[in-house]
């Protein structure tokens, strides 16, 4: 991976550049964030010509390392106004790696109203008129591109919300089953739309296998790493059987599962949408309870959710989405939730933002609590078609709250808060407050230690230790996100001593370098600081590292917990 494809959407050119020294040791999030920080003016309009959209596979992507096939996408986020990295499975990352593309940087924009397909292959990028695809949603775009090329073609696409630059729009990535994985958070689909790009197709047929400097050392480390994945009960057993949705019941029991737009900490009908129930429904209907989002995933937390006639409804049906629809919006039918999830894939909006904004819309009285049929209609007919109401909703949780004059608006830096109540799981509250990405549970997944007792235990209701926990996890996550690794490797990494050294050994063997654990921590720190500096220069201050006020005003049952961190306590996060 030694080439940078620099694409200009104004003059429709692609230059192939060598990787500058400063970026050689970066991949994934570290690379997208460094490129955005170096090349995007922090105060630019995220939908204007000065923003850049960057794609970068991780440092280990394309190698046989388990879990390493994730692609990072970065830009200045139109949703948060700050830097954004969002990583996704699908085929694109490994295709880029095969083509030796370390990053693709997309600059500037064409005349308004022009739509293009960017076709990426070994020779660079060619530009094709895509006006016929305007107004076509994602699954049909994928089908059209497979028809045009072949079933193996890689596809990254936006639906109508992306074309219309709605701030919840995501970038959808084709997976090996012709379905969709997403660069979900932060409105990157709107950035792609602002650049007149309807779809990116990737032909890796002239690509080569990624070279590994020391294959023997790599093989040995990869074996240890894969064994850690399979040996750890979370990644070897819990995730493959139940998927991430296994969390519904444990969060409910612990009082951290917020129903009805963050009103309470537990939900009466939790079992109707729990991971255990979902497993039984899928198994009894003949769907698949196990599924990987990219080749090389041995954990397989995903699934294929089918209806009674074994017809596909959705896949990649994650805990946060099920929480958002089933608990936050009180939609008790798992089938309805699955259909809405699929609609969000098809129209191309972030399924977390989509579910959180829907909860605020219910709060506003736009639709009744729990009305899955109306929620599905709103997705397809309003947001999916960018009607006036659809624009208010599709611009995200903050937009809905502003439009209807509400104060119970769960956001940080403009991005919807997912799935875990920060009052009763305080570590994740610190992550929501401080993340450079806006409210993002994956940025420093304190649930592991607060609730799941992985990597030790810190009482979720106590303030002590949470800032340090969130900081350490955030640093480690920034590094893991740079490897192209799925974040779930953190579970074995926290508990199995051989796991992290094996990961570092794989990087060393791949590039013939000699990183140690301290270097990896230093990498994580520098990524966070680079992102923070970008956000500061974009106009963020400490006051943006705060949770919405209602968390300080209302306690949450059953523990009567409240958000009671002082500003100074939160700001300690950045003391490293």
């Amino acid at each position: 991976m030694n080439r940078i494809f620099r694409v200009n959407m104004k003059d429709l050119t692609c230059k192939i550049e060598e990787v500058p020294e400063a970026w050689a040791g970066h991949g994934g999030r570290g690379l997208t964030s460094n490129i955005v920080a170096a090349e995007v003016p922090p105060t630019c309009h995220p939908l204007g010509p000065n923003n850049k959209l960057v794609f970068a596979p991780g440092l280990l992507t394309g190698t046989p390392a388990a879990q390493s096939g994730r692609m990072s996408a970065g830009a200045k986020s139109p949703l948060t106004g700050g830097i954004k990295e969002s990583n996704a499975g699908g085929t694109s990352a490994q295709q880029f790696a095969k083509l030796g593309i370390k990053a693709m940087i997309i600059e500037d924009q064409p005349e308004a109203g022009k739509w293009y397909e960017l076709h990426v292959n070994n020779n660079g990028v060619t530009f094709h008129d895509a006006s016929a695809l305007k107004g076509v949603q994602n699954f049909d775009v994928i089908a059209a591109m497979e028809e045009k090329y072949n079933p193996k073609i890689g596809v990254c696409t936006i639906g109508i919300p992306g074309e219309e630059r709605l701030l919840s729009a995501n970038i959808s990535v084709k997976d090996s089953d012709h379905k969709i994985r997403s660069h979900g958070r932060g409105g990157l689909g709107a950035v792609m739309g602002s650049k007149g790009i309807k779809v990116i197709t990737i032909d890796d047929s002239a690509g080569k296998r990624v070279t590994i400097a020391d294959p023997e050392k790599f093989r040995a480390a990869a074996k240890i790493f894969a064994k850690a994945m399979l040996d750890h009960p979370v990644t070897g057993e819990g995730l493959p059987i139940y998927g991430t949705n296994v969390l519904i019941n444990i969060l409910n029991e612990a009082g951290g599962l917020p129903p009805k737009n963050f009103r309470y900490g537990q939900c009466e009908h939790h079992d109707k949408v729990s991971g255990e129930t979902m497993h039984d429904v899928i198994a009894s209907r003949g769907g698949s309870t196990k599924h990987g989002c990219h080749a090389g995933c041995i954990i397989q937390c995903s699934q294929v959710y089918v209806d009674e006639n074994k017809e596909y409804i959705t896949s990649g049906f994650e805990y946060e989405t099920v929480w958002g629809l089933g608990i936050n919006c009180m939609i008790e039918s798992l089938d309805d939730c699955a259909r809405i999830d699929n609609a969000m894939d098809n129209i191309g909006i972030d399924s977390i933002e989509g579910a959180v904004l829907l909860g605020v819309a219910m709060e506003a009285g736009v639709l009744p609590w729990g009305d899955g049929k109306e929620a599905l209609r709103i997705m397809n007919e309003e947001i999916g078609k960018a009607t006036p109401l659809g624009r208010i909703l599709g611009n995200g949780t903050k937009s809905v709250g502003d439009a209807y004059g509400l104060t119970r608006v769960p956001i940080v830096k403009g991005q919807g808060i997912p799935a875990y109540d920060p009052r009763s799981v305080k570590g994740i509250g610190i992550t929501y407050a401080t993340s450079t990405m806006g409210a993002d549970h994956t940025a420093g997944y304190a649930i592991a230690t607060n609730i799941l007792q992985v990597g030790g235990h810190i009482d979720p209701l106590q303030k002590e230790g949470q800032v340090e926990l969130s900081r350490n996890l955030s640093i480690a996550t920034a590094a893991i996100d740079s490897c192209g690794m799925c974040i779930f490797i953190a579970f074995p990494a926290l508990d199995i001593p051989e796991c992290l050294p094996a990961l570092i050994d794989m990087i060393n063997a791949r590039y013939d370098i000699s990183l140690d654990g301290d270097d990896v921590v230093a990498l994580g720190k520098s990524i966070l600081k680079t992102e923070k500096a970008f956000n500061d220069a974009a106009g963020f201050t400490n006051a943006d590292d705060r949770l919405p006020e209602f968390f300080e005003l209302e306690t949450v049952s059953p523990h009567n917990a409240i958000w009671d961190f002082s500003p100074a306590e939160i700001d300690e996060f950045w003391n490293f």
Partner: protein, 74 residues
């Protein structure tokens, strides 16, 4: 004394979801696990009334004990 035991994920296999069960006074979480034929190391999280407890914690009359194997997600 009577306590309510809730089981989750694979702990439910060949057992139950929720049951009111009789135990002698001074029963610990570990004793409940033994009575259910669950090996200690299999336990991920034990919660009594929504708070994390250890295997040594003594369960008292009327409490609800929730037992999870090691699970995760995110």
């Amino acid at each position: 004394m009577k306590i309510t035991v809730k089981l989750f994920a694979i702990f439910r296999n060949d057992r139950f979801k929720i049951e009111d069960r009789d135990y002698p006074n001074e029963t610990t979480v570990g004793d409940v696990l033994t009575s259910l034929d669950i090996d200690g190391p299999e336990l991920g999280v034990a919660l009594i009334n929504g708070r994390h407890v250890t295997k040594e914690t003594v369960v008292t009359e009327g409490q609800t004990l929730a037992l999870f194997p090691k699970v995760g997600g995110g």
